[in-house]
């Protein structure tokens, strides 16, 4: 349990960007955290950035956003899941989900790799990059019904499974024998549609 406070927040499209203090292990791109509502539920949140003991996430639900802002602190757990490999990184996302791929792209840039966001719609961020780059990693977050538009090697943010019981011990985050909450949330497309 990590007791975190809101450091900063803003509206981004239909979502809300929140920066929390985070006295926990440093999350890596591709990992997620859980917001615990004591005695009620746990809510997985993709990490969109990390900087010096603060963590950035996007919260889509206006109700949850309001509740977070009115709390003295929130309880976070994690990071969970598997970091994605670093390299030249292409992100693919619909406009409501682009934040899911932000951390991999940002970290790739910071590490000196190329990064680009292919946005299906109008996203709240962009990344300048050289032409003709060979992408080492393709990460995507799109609705499930659009998966067939992605290359087979894409690592897809699995948004449609129950991520409760984060460390995977309940098995509820299973997708074709893979645990989205342990091996994911970014899983290779071939594992998802197999």
């Amino acid at each position: 349990m990590i007791r975190s406070k809101v450091v900063e927040y803003s509206e981004v499209g239909k979502s809300h960007r929140i920066v929390f203090t985070f006295q926990g292990r440093r999350p890596l791109p591709g990992q997620f955290i859980a917001l615990i509502l004591p005695g009620e539920k746990e809510i997985p949140l993709g990490v969109t950035d990390y900087n010096d003991s603060t963590i950035e996430v996007y919260v889509d639900s206006p109700k949850l956003f309001k509740r977070i802002l009115s709390s003295r602190y929130v309880v976070l757990e994690g990071p969970f899941g598997k970091p994605i490999p670093m390299g030249n990184t292409l992100g693919v996302a619909t406009e409501d989900l682009f934040h899911d791929v932000l951390f991999p792209l940002r970290e790739a840039k910071r590490k000196g790799f190329e990064a680009s966001l292919e946005c299906w719609g109008s996203c709240g961020a962009d990344f300048p990059h050289r032409e003709g780059v060979k992408w080492d990693v393709v990460v995507a977050s799109v609705p499930r019904e659009m998966l067939d538009k992605l290359p087979r090697s894409t690592m897809v943010y699995v948004r449609w499974v129950n991520m409760n019981c984060m460390a995977g011990v309940c098995g509820v985050c299973q997708v074709n024998g893979n645990l989205a909450c342990v091996d994911g949330p970014f899983l290779e497309l071939r594992k998802i549609v197999a």
Binding site: P38, G39, K41, S71, Y73, V75, V169, G171
Partner: protein
């Protein structure tokens, strides 16, 4: 040098995965077997019929290396094991709310099992687990009458654990798994209520290691029984303490939650190096610290 025989089962190393860690997803279990070669996986506890886990939150980390969980034995029912093909030793954990249910579950579980572990000690579901421990002798006796694989009984760190361990052995148990989690509670100070939806939960990990050492030591020095020691093993030194207290094998749980399955290899490497340096075998140290 550190392969062991646990009730006739050859294990290539003494580190098994404790119950409750690997979810009952066969492909995933198979991958854990292939990638990390655990000498055995203890399954999550199965009951005869499916049991819904408690509502989330069910698992939180409460301090460095310590967790609190109340999954409540949620499982899809033992029958799913029928189609489970997992290429390593399976210690099948079984539980239930009655003697009959436990026996029936064990009979079905035996098919894929190297060993049956009867879980009589979960603090997280009324009527199951800890509430059934008082019938331990009868339960073990019945299961032994119907099942030929080795039977271990998992007990909690209770005040009467030496007593209950004795009853399990009288009933014919081949060994004991010690200890289960310790019933605790975590409150949220802002909300003023428990963090876990179930209210209380079981504390695991580093916090309970000295308790595990003491309980294993007490039971071993009384009966010299075969024991799978579980409770806060994060390093080979932690494991060695359990061996010295009387454990023949060691179950690893919370350390995997915290560090991943890679921790198994760290344990193997550390233990091997120590034993080589000392020029000893594992069998030399088992129970050494508590032998009367």
């Amino acid at each position: 040098m550190y392969s062991i025989r646990l009730s006739g089962i050859e294990l290539r190393d003494p580190f098994v995965i404790a119950s409750g860690i690997v979810p009952d997803v066969p492909e995933y279990m198979a991958r854990v077997c292939q990638e990390f070669s655990p000498s055995a996986i203890t399954t999550k506890t199965f009951t005869l019929n499916p049991l819904e886990p408690h509502k989330p939150p069910t698992l939180v980390k409460i301090s460095d290396g310590c967790f609190l969980n109340a999954i409540g034995l949620g499982n899809p029912g033992i029958k799913v094991m029928g189609s489970m093909e997992v290429p390593c030793n399976l210690f099948v954990s079984v539980g239930g709310s009655s003697l009959e249910e436990i026996v029936e579950t064990a009979i079905i579980g035996e098919g894929k099992a190297s060993l049956i572990e009867i879980n009589l000690s979960s603090p997280n579901r009324r009527g199951y687990g800890a509430d059934t421990a008082k019938f331990v002798r009868e339960i073990v006796k019945e299961v032994k009458g119907k099942v030929r694989k080795p039977i271990f009984v998992k007990l909690g760190p209770w005040d009467n654990v030496v007593d209950l361990a004795g009853k399990a052995l009288e009933g014919g148990a081949d060994g004991l798994t010690l200890i289960n989690t310790v019933k605790g509670m975590k409150l949220d100070v802002d909300a003023g209520k428990p963090v876990l939806s179930y209210g209380t939960g079981g504390v695991s990990g580093r916090c309970i290691h000295p308790l595990a050492v003491r309980v294993i030591g007490e039971v071993y020095s009384e009966y010299s029984a075969q024991i799978i020691g579980t409770g806060g093993v994060f390093s080979w030194e932690d494991a060695m303490e359990l061996f010295l207290a009387g454990a023949t094998a060691v179950g690893v749980g919370s350390a995997i939650l915290e560090r991943g399955f890679e921790v198994l290899n760290e344990l193997r490497v550390g233990l091997t190096a120590f034993m080589e340096e000392k020029g000893i075998n594992l069998s030399d140290v088992i129970g050494m610290a508590v032998r009367k």
